[in-house]
């Protein structure tokens, strides 16, 4: 039951299940999986049950209920929640509870969703494996020796382990799509500006975008419908109506739709055969649905990762300046418990020593690495060679997408070069980790929406994903094509062994 948003909503509406029963079941599932999977950083037992009971009372009293009334959802711990800690999986914010809800959290609550807890992530969303979390790593429900991907690894694992039917992640360079692919579920990164960023603790402001993860396209469409919309409090949010995404789900005819296959990326060295097969199988499915397949290439795709790894750290180095120990978050004195002063801080002024001690202790090494890279790239004398150059390349990358979308409606390609990798496999090799983003960062740099779909299984039984990308504000096209694909395939119905069926 907890693996379908639409089923749960139907049961709740018909009265075959109460919100309290659904919530209790979710909490039980979390209790059963948390010790091994560790998808959550915080579980809101009491608040969730209280909210569920309120829904049940309203339903009993015959009051009109919002569309998601009683639906348990999990929220990535980078999104502000006024009634729960928001740690970004960092020691820096271990004890931080914001004074407000992120707009998308408020939207989901207004739609009746019950926030059941906060999910684990790479620290400040920097990583592709959820191993950089200060709250312990998250395991992949399909194989506990593997990572669930990242940075929204907790959000993907929360769905894949059957604790919630829907979770909300964020995607700066692939952080929704890659974990969705690794965990065999569906994940959607909306157009930049489709969902408000207010209350999303910024990693890279020009790239960050929140989106839903669930088993099916139908479920993520329900999630996106509830969370999306213009927010005047976010200057980068787009003032455009969200179309009816449910009607897009109903489409199973892709007659006249032109899909461009990104052959260059599929043929690239290091792409696993299972990934190549998933894409070519998908081409056949789409052809059967009436779509026309053509080949396209995005000329500057070899520059995606280098461009991304200049722009994102530059913005991060600035966004994370506020975590200095002065106002909130972790503060550390330069003195240890015995009053001894760290040698490297002995000569610093007290204020600077406090900054340095707090940031040294509060941030993990990947976060520090990106702050260092970004600070360097924005420094006098390097700005033009790095940041400014990256902005220029970013414009070219956007231009590639514009050109491609003049002749096709959608782009099809892989999400990741391989299925889920092992825990510890890449953690000491930042470059290998960064290459996880090879196929995903383009959508962030161009701001276009992208969908990750389960589309295969490798020899070891691990899920394999494919990615569809659409022009800006065209989520409905993605959803129609994705729903069509899932109407002809069963990959989104596969569950990890030991999946809790109720």
């Amino acid at each position: 039951m907890l693996d379908s948003t639409s089923t749960i909503l139907e049961l709740l509406r018909s009265g075959d299940a109460t919100a309290r029963e659904v919530t209790e079941q979710a909490l039980r599932a979390i209790g059963a999986t948390q010790p091994s999977i560790n998808a959550y950083t915080h579980v809101a037992y009491d608040a969730a049950l209280n909210a569920a009971e309120a829904v049940d009372r309203d339903r009993k009293a015959g009051r009109p209920l919002p569309p998601l009334a009683g639906l348990p959802v999990a929220i990535k711990d980078v999104l502000c929640t006024a009634d729960m800690p928001t740690t970004c999986s960092s020691n820096m914010l271990r004890n931080f509870t914001p004074p407000y809800d992120a707009t998308i959290v408020a939207n989901l609550k207004r739609a009746g969703a019950i926030v059941i807890g906060k999910t684990n992530m790479d620290e400040f969303a920097m990583g592709a494996s959820t191993e950089t979390s200060a709250m312990g790593l998250t395991r992949n429900p399909w194989d506990e020796d593997r990572t669930p991907g990242g940075s929204s690894g907790g959000a993907a694992a929360a769905v894949a382990s059957g604790t919630v039917p829907l979770s909300i992640g964020t995607d700066t360079g692939g952080s929704i799509r890659q974990p969705a692919a690794f965990c065999g579920i569906t994940g959607l990164k909306p157009t930049y500006g489709r969902c408000s960023r207010l209350g999303l603790v910024a990693f890279a402001s020009s790239l960050d975008q929140a989106g839903p993860l669930g088993w099916s396209v139908e479920d993520v469409a329900i999630g996106l419908q509830a969370m999306a919309g213009y927010d005047p409090a976010d200057s980068t949010s787009v003032d455009q109506e969200v179309p009816d995404l449910q009607s897009a789900v109903a489409t199973d005819n892709l007659q006249g739709v032109r899909i461009g296959v990104l052959r260059d990326s599929i043929d690239q060295e290091g792409v696993a055969p299972s990934v190549r097969k998933a894409v070519s199988d998908a081409e056949k499915v789409f052809t059967d649905l009436g779509a026309e397949i053509v080949e396209v290439s995005l000329r500057h795709s070899p520059y995606w990762v280098p461009t991304y790894y200049v722009i994102a750290p530059c913005e991060a180095s600035s966004n994370l300046s506020r975590f200095d120990g002065a106002h909130y978050g972790h503060r550390q004195s330069a003195q240890d418990a015995d009053g001894a002063v760290d040698e490297s801080l002995a000569k610093a002024e007290p204020l600077e020593a406090m900054y340095r001690a707090s940031r040294a202790a509060g941030f993990g090494s990947e976060v520090k690495r990106r702050i260092m890279v970004g600070t360097y790239a924005l420094s006098a004398g390097y700005y033009d060679a790095y940041y400014n150059q990256a902005l220029k390349v970013r414009r070219l990358i956007r231009g590639d997408y514009d050109t491609a979308f003049e002749s096709v409606d959608l782009l099809l390609g892989p999400v990741t070069p391989s299925p889920a990798f092992g825990l510890g496999e890449n953690i000491d090799d930042p470059i290998a980790m960064y290459l996880c983003d090879l196929f995903t960062v383009g959508a962030n740099l161009a701001g276009v929406p992208a969908l990750s779909l389960p589309a295969g299984v490798d020899d070891e039984g691990l899920p394999v994903g494919i990615q569809l990308q659409a022009p800006v504000m065209q989520e409905a096209k993605l959803i129609a094509a994705g729903a069509g694909f899932q109407s002809k395939t069963e990959y989104h119905r596969l569950r990890p062994s030991g999946f809790i069926v109720s």
């Binding site: 928001t86 004074p99 200057s235 180095s317 600035s318 300046s321 506020r322 700005y383």
Partner: protein, 527 residues
């Protein structure tokens, strides 16, 4: 805040510079003999001013918090101006309009697009770790302000404006160093308040010119209603860039530029510049150091010792790592919006000053005083003058009686108890010879407390014109009683009648002194 006692220093926006955690003092000895340096070398003083004017918006630059001065610490704050995680800025349209207004009045060009940049440094009163400012596309660029040449009030000096850009203010750190402990308290009420930083060209040549520039700028900003310019409340602050060009045996030598930060009064701007001029001369005499050895230094001003002092600088402080703020979109400034603001500017103070001289024949000084009082005073003067028929007399009444009353009673000209048309009528009576100045002052005093027209006031005070026959009789009586005066006048001492004028007014306060004098002289001549 009550606990903040002892040495409290405001370290506005100090950044790494002038970190109050290391407030170090290097007094400079200035033996009097070296003051003669300026006599030996022709010296040109080069000054540029950076003025921060707080814009009079209802709310802060990027959030909805109020900007009221003097509220309890940390009560006018929200997640945005506190820089909380996840908070996002939204630009205040009013701040844009006020900036464009100012820029147009300063003859600046307004670009079609302006954008926001982050200026990054760590400081506890800057909670985000960066200040949202404008780096390469300021909202106003390349203008000028003409000021009166303090050395010659008949000519003007043309002072270039490099740019004016919008930025958010930082909070306030208060350092308590009493009782041997160093304690810092932060008030973030001011954090996010909109500032327009107006940067002049180094076109100013003396402390007096700097003061004149500031006065004219303040007048313009208050006239445009874009800023209150209350220096004691910090809504107008100035940094002065000062150096000297020396002519040493025909060779031009420039001393290192010193930026004196955070000058919070006109007086301090002047004193800091004067001090710097002396100090730089001495320093150059001592060390021979020129601009090539040390391009720019940052100094503070210590009010108590009346000295500038070097603030400690760090290598990295110079690099603010500016980059475009990804949370904010560039702002488009459409032509028609700019045109609309331009057409709403009205007459600017410099133009009014000239017009008052040409149209009403006022002296420069009088026109300047009226204009400096702001648009409401200009209106008051013009209305009063149109009723009095004598603008010069009207202006002197305003300078003396009206301005004195404003000061004494602490009232605004907008709500002055004697409306301008009434003052005009009163002055008209003087011009017509119906009232003398002394009686007119009595009427004015009466009108201050009675909302009545001039004729009613005259009746209430029993003031009526004294008839010719009554005047003759009064004068005859006085002459009869004071034969000595008649003798003196006949002996050539005309001023002797003065003694009788006071006596005449004692008998009949309505008697016009001029008329009394003339009648007395006529009678003596006829005698």
């Amino acid at each position: 805040m009550a606990s903040v006692a002892g040495a409290v220093a405001d370290s506005y926006n100090a950044g790494f510079l002038g970190s109050p955690f290391s407030l170090s003092f290097t007094p400079i000895d200035m033996p009097t003999s070296t003051r003669l340096a300026s006599d030996r070398y022709p010296v040109t003083v080069i000054i540029g001013l950076e003025v921060h004017a707080q814009l009079k918006t209802q709310t802060k630059l990027f959030c909805g918090c109020a900007t009221q001065f003097g509220m309890p610490a940390n009560t006018q704050v929200c997640p945005v101006c506190l820089g909380m995680p996840g908070a996002l800025p939204v630009i205040n349209r009013e701040a844009i309009e006020l900036s464009v207004r100012t820029g147009l009045a300063l003859n600046c060009s307004i670009p079609p697009l302006t954008k926001w940049d982050r200026k990054q440094y760590f400081y506890p009163d800057l909670p985000k770790g960066y200040q949202i400012s404008q780096f390469d596309l300021p909202i106003c660029a390349d203008g000028y302000l003409d000021i009166t040449d303090p050395a010659d009030p008949d000519s003007t000096r043309h002072i270039g404006i490099v740019r004016a850009h919008l930025e958010e203010d930082a909070g306030k750190s208060m350092h308590d160093e009493s009782a041997g402990v160093s304690d810092t308290k932060i008030d973030l009420n001011r954090c996010g308040t909109p500032l327009l930083e107006i940067v002049s060209q180094p076109d100013l040549r003396s402390a007096a010119e700097a003061k004149e520039y500031l006065s004219e700028l303040k007048l313009l900003l208050t006239h445009l209603a874009v800023s209150d310019c209350e220096m004691q409340e910090g809504s107008l602050r100035a940094d002065a860039n000062v150096n000297l060009h020396l002519d040493v045996d025909g060779k031009k030598v420039a001393t290192p530029i010193v930026e004196v930060k955070n000058l919070n009064s006109f007086r301090n701007v002047q004193r800091a510049i004067d001090y710097e001029v002396e100090r730089q001369l001495v320093a150059w005499e001592d060390s021979g150091e020129t601009i090539n050895d040390a391009p720019k230094r940052t100094f503070g001003w210590d009010d108590a010792s009346e000295r500038t002092f070097p603030q400690r600088e760090k290598e990295e402080s110079a690099d603010y790592r500016y980059f475009p703020d990804p949370d904010l979109l560039p702002v488009r400034l459409p032509r028609d919006m700019i045109d609309e603001i331009r057409s709403s500017l009205g007459e600017l103070p410099a133009v009014t000053r000239t017009r008052l001289q040409n149209q009403y024949g006022l002296k420069f000084y009088d026109a300047d005083v009226i204009v400096n009082q702001g648009p409401a005073m200009i209106d008051y003067f013009e209305t009063a003058a149109s009723h009095s028929g004598d603008p010069k007399k009207t202006s002197s009444w305003i300078m003396q009686e009206v301005m004195r009353t404003i000061k004494e009673r602490d009232v605004e000209i907008q709500s002055f108890p004697v409306p301008p048309n009434r003052l005009g009528e009163l002055v008209h009576k003087i011009v017509d010879g119906k009232l003398d100045n002394a009686r007119a002052r009595d009427v004015f005093e009466y009108l201050l407390d009675h909302d009545e027209n001039v004729d009613t006031a005259l009746a209430a005070l029993g003031i009526e014109a004294v008839g010719e026959d009554d005047l003759l009789e009064l004068c005859r009586e006085l002459l009869a009683a004071n034969p000595q005066v008649v003798e003196d006048v006949q002996g050539g001492k005309q001023q002797a009648v003065g003694a009788l004028i006071g006596k005449a007014r004692a008998k009949n306060p309505n008697a016009n002194p001029k008329a009394v004098r003339q009648t007395l002289l006529d009678l003596i001549a006829q005698a």
